[in-house]
C-alpha cells in the first residue's frame, strides 16, 4: 500500500538530489535542470498532501509553482544565451570575473 508518507519520502529524496546537483554540477544548463527537479519535488509534495488532507489549496499552488518555473526557465535561458555570447562557455567555474 502506498501511503502519503511514501510520497513525502520520494519528494524529499528528489529535492535532496536536486540540491546536490546544484552544488556539484559544472554546466549552468544542468544546474538549471537540477533546480527544475527541486521544484517538481515541491509539486509532488503539494499534490500528495492536498489529496491526503482533502483540500484543494495545495493543488492550486502547484499551478503557481509551474507558472513561476516556466517564467524562470524563459528568463534563465535568455540570460544563459547572453552569457554564452560574451564568454563562449557555460561552465560555472568561469563565472569568475567578479570576486572579492
Amino acid at each position: 500500500m502506498i501511503t502519503v508518507t511514501h510520497y513525502l519520502m520520494l519528494s524529499a529524496i528528489l529535492f535532496a538530489i536536486g540540491t546536490l546537483g546544484v552544488l556539484t554540477r559544472k554546466n549552468a544548463i544542468v544546474v538549471f535542470m537540477c533546480i527544475e527537479v527541486m521544484l517538481n519535488a515541491v509539486n509532488l509534495t503539494f499534490i500528495a498532501l492536498s489529496r491526503h488532507v482533502g483540500n484543494l489549496d495545495g493543488q492550486i499552488f502547484v499551478f503557481f509553482v509551474m507558472t513561476v518555473a516556466a517564467a524562470e526557465a524563459a528568463v534563465g535561458l535568455a540570460l544563459l544565451i547572453a552569457f554564452y555570447r560574451n564568454k563562449e562557455t557555460l561552465d560555472v567555474d568561469d563565472f569568475n570575473m567578479l570576486k572579492w
Binding site: 513525502l8 519528494s11 529535492f15 536536486g18 540540491t19 546544484v22 549552468a28 544546474v31 538549471f32 533546480i35 527541486m38 521544484l39 519535488a41 515541491v42 509534495t45 503539494f46 498532501l49 488532507v53 483540500n55 489549496d57 495545495g58 492550486i60 499552488f61 503557481f64 509553482v65 513561476v68 517564467a71 524562470e72 528568463v75 534563465g76 535568455a78 540570460l79 544563459l80 547572453a82 552569457f83 555570447r85 560574451n86 564568454k87 560555472v92 563565472f95 570575473m97 567578479l98 570576486k99 572579492w100
Partner: protein, 471 residues
C-alpha cells in the same frame, strides 16, 4: 474577485497595467526619456492612490491585505522606483538601454514589492516575491554586451532560483504541518505540540534560508557584492533598498506576534543577526570598490534590521520602519551619485578613480559624503537617530548583547565609510573631469540629502507616521 477587492488592489493594478502599457508602447515609440518619465509618473500615481484612496476592503481574498501598513509600504516602494527611474534618465541614454523595457520591468518590480509586503498568505508571498525577482534577473543583466553584467545576472539567477525552490519546499512543509496557507494561522499552528511540529519547524528553517538569500544574511550573502558590482548602478540601488525592504516588511507583521513557535524562530534569527553584523563588517573593511563596499554595508545594515525584527513589538517595529526609510534614502543616494558619475567608459567604482574628485565636482562629492556619513551614523544626520532608536529598542527589549555588537560594528564601520570620502577629498586632482549631472538628478539627490539632514534634527513627523501605521 468582486469589485471591492479589485478596488482595494488599485495601486498594484495600476503598476501592473501601466507596466504592460509601457512595454507595448515602447515597441512603437523608441523614446527612452519619454517612457522613463511615463513610468515614474505611473509609480507616483500608484503611490498617491495608495496613500489617499481609502480601500473598501482590508482583507483581499485572504491573500493580500490593504491595511495602512501595506499601503505605507506600497507608497514607499513606488516612490523608490519612481526615483530610480528619474535618476536613470541619463544613464539609459549613455548605455543605450531600451527605455520601454527598462521602465516596464521597474514597474513590474514595484508591483511585486508592493504585493509582497501586502501578502497575508503564502500564495501571495510567493507570487509577490517571484514577480519582483523575475524582473530583477533581467534588470541586473540589462547592459548589453557587458560581461560583468551578464555574469552578475547569472549569479543572481542561480542563487535566486535555488532560493525559490527552497521557499516553495518550505511552504509545502508548513502546509503539511498546519494545513493552511495563511501566514498568521501557520505561525499559530506551529505552537501546538503535535507530532507534525518538527516538520513545521523544518519548513520555517527552509523559509529562513530563502529569505536569507533574498536579504543577504550571512551565510547566504555571497552573491551580494558580485551582483551589486556587475549590475547597473541604479539597479544596484533598487536591489539594496526597496527589494530588501519589501522582504523584511513582509515578515514584520508575523514576528510581532508572540508564542512558542515564534520564539524558536527568533533564536535562529538571533544567531543570523550576530553573524551578519560581524562577518559583513569585517568583509567590508578591505574593499577598494565603492559598489562592493556598499554591498557589504547593506549586509551589515540588514543585520541591524534583524535586531529590530527580533525585538518586535511596537518598539521594534517603529525602529525597523524608521531605520529602513533612513537607510534606503542614504543608500539610494550613494548609488545615485555613482549613477551620475557614469559615462561611456563605464561607472566610477574604484577608490583610485574617486581620488581628488571633490576639487572638480564639489557638490556631488559633498552629497556622497553626506550619504556615507549618514550610513555611518554621524550625529546631525538621520542615520545617527535611526541607529540610536534601534539600539535603544534592543536594550529595552532585553537584547543588550545584540545592541552592544551593533554598536561595535558601527564604530568599526567608520573606517570603511570614511575611506572613499578621504579619497574624494585627497589633495591631488583627478585626471578626468566627469560629465555634468542632469538637473533632475541633482534635484533628486539634493532632496534625498535634505530629507536626511531634516530627519536628523527633526524626526518627529516620520516617527509619528510610523507609529500610526504599525500592524
Amino acid at each position: 474577485m468582486n469589485q471591492e477587492s479589485l478596488q482595494s488592489l488599485l495601486p498594484q493594478i495600476l503598476l501592473a497595467l501601466g507596466s504592460t502599457a509601457i512595454l507595448l508602447g515602447g515597441a512603437w515609440v523608441r523614446n527612452r526619456r519619454l517612457w522613463l518619465l511615463v513610468g515614474a509618473l505611473v509609480a507616483i500615481v500608484a503611490a498617491l492612490v495608495a496613500a489617499f484612496v481609502e480601500p473598501p476592503q482590508i482583507d483581499i481574498l485572504g491573500m493580500y491585505s490593504a491595511s495602512a501598513y501595506a499601503r505605507f509600504c506600497t507608497v514607499l516602494w513606488s516612490l523608490t522606483v519612481a526615483a530610480t527611474l528619474v535618476i536613470s534618465c541619463r544613464y539609459v541614454d549613455i548605455f543605450r538601454f531600451g527605455g520601454g523595457e527598462y521602465a516596464s520591468l521597474m514597474l513590474f518590480a514595484a508591483a511585486g514589492m508592493s504585493l509582497l509586503s501586502a501578502a497575508t498568505s503564502f500564495v501571495g508571498l510567493f507570487l509577490g516575491l517571484e514577480v519582483l525577482t523575475l524582473a530583477l534577473y533581467i534588470l541586473i543583466a540589462f547592459r548589453h554586451g557587458d560581461t560583468r553584467g551578464a555574469e552578475a545576472g547569472m549569479k543572481y539567477l542561480v542563487f535566486g532560483a535555488v532560493a525559490t525552490a527552497f521557499l516553495a519546499f518550505a511552504i509545502a512543509l508548513i502546509y503539511t504541518a498546519t494545513g493552511t496557507f495563511n501566514l498568521q494561522a501557520a505561525a499559530v499552528g506551529l505552537q501546538a505540540g503535535d507530532g507534525l511540529r518538527p516538520l513545521g519547524l523544518a519548513g520555517w528553517a527552509l523559509l529562513l534560508v530563502a529569505v536569507g538569500f533574498k536579504i543577504s544574511l550571512v551565510p547566504f550573502h555571497l552573491w551580494t557584492p558580485d551582483v551589486y558590482q556587475g549590475a547597473p548602478a541604479p539597479v544596484s540601488g533598487l536591489l539594496a533598498t526597496a527589494a530588501k525592504g519589501a522582504v523584511l516588511a513582509a515578515f514584520l507583521p508575523l514576528l510581532v506576534m508572540s508564542g512558542e513557535g515564534i520564539a524558536d524562530i527568533k533564536a535562529i534569527l538571533w544567531l543570523l543577526a550576530i553573524a551578519t553584523m560581524l562577518v559583513g563588517t569585517f568583509a567590508a573593511l578591505p574593499q577598494t570598490n565603492i559598489k562592493r563596499m556598499l554591498a557589504y554595508s547593506s549586509v551589515v545594515h540588514m543585520g541591524y534590521l534583524m535586531i529590530a525584527l527580533i525585538v518586535a513589538g511596537a518598539d521594534g517595529s517603529r525602529a525597523l520602519l524608521f531605520y529602513l526609510v533612513v537607510y534606503s534614502l542614504a543608500t539610494f543616494g550613494a548609488f545615485g551619485i555613482i549613477t551620475t558619475f557614469a559615462d561611456e567608459n563605464g561607472e566610477i567604482q574604484d577608490y583610485d578613480d574617486l581620488r581628488g574628485l571633490a576639487a572638480l565636482h564639489p557638490r556631488r562629492s559633498a552629497l556622497l559624503a553626506v550619504f556615507l556619513l549618514s550610513l555611518t551614523g554621524i550625529p546631525p544626520l538621520a542615520g545617527f537617530f535611526a541607529k540610536f532608536g534601534l539600539f535603544q529598542a534592543a536594550f529595552r527589549g532585553g537584547y543588550a548583547e545584540l545592541a552592544v555588537i551593533g554598536v561595535i560594528a558601527s564604530v568599526i564601520s567608520v573606517y570603511y565609510y570614511v575611506r572613499p570620502v578621504i579619497a574624494l577629498y585627497a589633495p591631488e586632482s583627478a585626471s578626468v573631469c566627469r560629465d555634468v549631472a542632469a538637473r533632475s538628478e541633482t534635484l533628486l539627490l539634493v532632496g534625498c540629502a535634505a530629507v536626511i539632514v531634516i530627519l536628523g534634527v527633526y524626526p518627529t513627523p516620520l516617527l509619528s507616521l510610523v507609529a500610526l501605521i504599525i500592524p
